[in-house]
Amino acid sequence: MRARNGENLLIEMDEVTKIYTLGQTRVEALKGISLKIGYGEFVAVWGPSGSGKTTLLNLIGMIDQPTSGRLCFGGREITSLTDNQQSDLRNQAIGFIFQGFNLIPVLSALENVMLPLQIRGEKLARALPAAQKRLAQVGLGDFIQQRPDKLSGGQRQRVAIARALVTEPSLVIADEPTANLDTTTAMKIVDLMRELNRGENTTFIFSTHDQRLLAQVDRLIDLQDGLIRGEEYRR
């Protein structure tokens, strides 16, 4: 399961760089990252602000393109894929949990969770029970008809988790998933993610500063100034 054994690789990055150009300024967000992540890992990327955590997750999640280097997902070189192919791959294999939840405000919790399946073109008869099951799994079975503005921060993040998992992805990417939550709610969310990771062998990669979350991870990647300064395997 673990990448350090060199087997069952989900993500493989080789000398990946990302350079942003803002007017005259050139910012090297990632300066040559090489990284391997296996199926079922529960990985945290941590580091100070501006260290490149979010950029790294964006590249892994195929919502941004590396400037150079090789990036493979499930053995497929993703930099050579077209935009449509990347969209399909994101929809099928990756779930996103955003810091700001990013739920669609005009849709109910249930409709938000069904969304990735409907983007895929699943019929309502298949999407509905899958979404209901995920919402029940995150403890929101009684709130399925509520719109996001009627839900608390923790409930919204649970909906976001249910939405990320409804397609049964190989990978869930979470950018600061507990940043906007109080301690109790944050702990519940961490426990939930851990439980889903163990129960369904779903790989979780998240960026965080949250020590409560770091205590739960299998693997910690320390990122500083766009470079991996160290890695620690906890289990």
């Binding site: 964006n58 941004d64 990013n102 849709l107 409709e111 990735p116």
Partner: protein, 414 residues
């Protein structure tokens, strides 16, 4: 698909003020196009009626070959003889679409009340055929007359345009004299009695026009012939096919005649049509600009406000064309609802027109006519489809901009 419809509808509802303003712009545009289209159709139909029935052109007119070019210079040579009239009548009446075929002779000369003389042009037709023409007048009913009908048995009883009657001080029952040259160039004069005072559809002819029995016209020109045979059909739509059938039949018989449709003879109709087509185009361009600007503005705002949403959906796997579809659906709803409200407005205005029955005097016409709006369902449906398509197309520009945004930038949009 249902989800995208839901998102579109709920977003429109969420931004109800903005949606309402755009919707009203579309509704007013649609109603303008429908109402003006309905008025244009009324003008087409009324002018068609005026040409076929009011001016007694009929649907088809048969002339001797060359009459239209040389007939004025040598009338004797280009009149249809009685034999030719009967042959044409025989061919025409054999066609089931023909309801009437009648000879006519147009004359001109001087008319005098004994003190004043003035020029006239007169239409000589068979009095018993006049009803068939007048019954076809449904929209421009101003051609009604004062006095009594012309009669086959009273060849000296004539109809005089009101303007001409006023000029000569003639009333119903007055007598006057007409003077002209016969087809052989001899001077001829006839007494006449005013049976009718006519409204005519062309203002500049109001002081010149008379309608006389064919026998009167023939007597004045000293001929038994006619310069044309007018053919009236059961339906105007049958003009072209019957035109071809009759032309073939007459050519086969070697009659030496030419046949013209009412459209070929009525340049006025074509000019009116061209003018209204141009005005309609102008109006449609204005509506086009208003609708496009409203929709582009609304959709640009929507794309801007929902940039994070676009980023989220793209991250979840929605393709660029999915973003276009999402805003396209929203825009098409605006178009459909706008056209729905516009349709309601159209019916309300038409109901008012039917109730109030306003009249107006078209340019060049000597009497006021009722204003009508003739709504054609096929035209309204095609206008509606065109407007909805326009709305969708107008949304593409902002939606395209939204769909091409970098996902990370879109997610970070505040």
């Amino acid at each position: 698909m249902r989800t995208w419809f839901k998102i579109a509808l709920r977003n429109l509802k969420k931004n109800r003020r903005r949606s309402l303003i755009t919707l009203l712009a579309i509704a007013l545009g649609f109603a303008s196009v429908c109402l003006f289209g309905g008025f244009t159709q009324y003008m087409y139909d009324a002018n068609q009626e005026a040409a076929i029935y009011g001016r007694a052109l009929g649907h088809l007119t048969v002339f001797k070959q060359g009459f239209l070019e040389q007939g004025q210079l040598d009338p004797a040579r280009y009149l249809l003889t009685t034999e030719e009239i009967e042959s044409i009548r025989g061919i025409c009446t054999a066609n089931p679409q023909v309801v009437m075929v009648t000879p006519q002779l147009q004359i001109s000369g001087l008319v005098s009340n004994g003190k004043i003389s003035t020029i006239f042009i007169a239409h000589g037709l068979v009095p018993s055929s006049i009803d068939a023409f007048m019954n076809g007048m449904k929209l421009f009913k101003f051609l009604e007359f004062e006095g009594r009908k012309l009669e086959d048995d009273s060849p000296y009883g004539v109809a005089v345009a009101k303007g001409l009657a006023k000029l000569l001080g003639l009333k119903v029952g007055s007598n006057a004299v007409v003077l002209s040259t016969t087809v052989d160039g001899q001077t001829n004069a006839l007494d006449m009695e005013v049976f009718q005072l006519l409204n005519v559809d062309t203002e500049f002819l109001n002081n010149k026009v008379m309608r006389v029995p064919l026998a009167f016209a023939q007597q004045l020109y000293d001929t038994r012939g006619a310069d044309r045979m007018v053919v009236l059909l059961d339906r105007t739509e049958n003009t072209e096919p019957v035109f071809k059938q009759l032309r073939t039949a007459m050519q086969e018989l070697g009659l030496g005649v030419e046949i013209k449709t009412w459209k070929q003879l009525s340049q006025w109709y074509q000019k009116v049509r061209d003018m209204f087509d141009l005005i309609f185009l102008f109006l449609f361009v204005i509506v086009f600009v208003i609708v496009v600007m409203s929709v582009v503005n609304t959709m640009s705002m929507a794309v801007l406000e929902r940039t994070r949403e676009i980023g989220t959906l793209r991250a979840l796997g929605l393709k660029r064309r999915g973003v276009l579809l999402m805003f396209g659906i929203e825009s098409s709803f605006l178009g459909v609802f706008g056209c729905g409200v516009g349709l309601l407005l159209t019916f309300m205005v038409r109901a008012w027109v039917n109730f109030a029955q306003p009249t107006w005097t078209p340019p060049g016409i000597s009497a006021s006519v009722p204003l009508k709006i003739i709504l054609l369902p096929s035209y309204m449906v095609s206008s509606g489809i065109a407007l909805v398509a326009l709305c969708v197309l107008a949304s593409l520009l902002p939606a395209l901009r939204g769909s091409r945004q970098n996902i990370v930038d879109a997610l970070g949009h505040v």
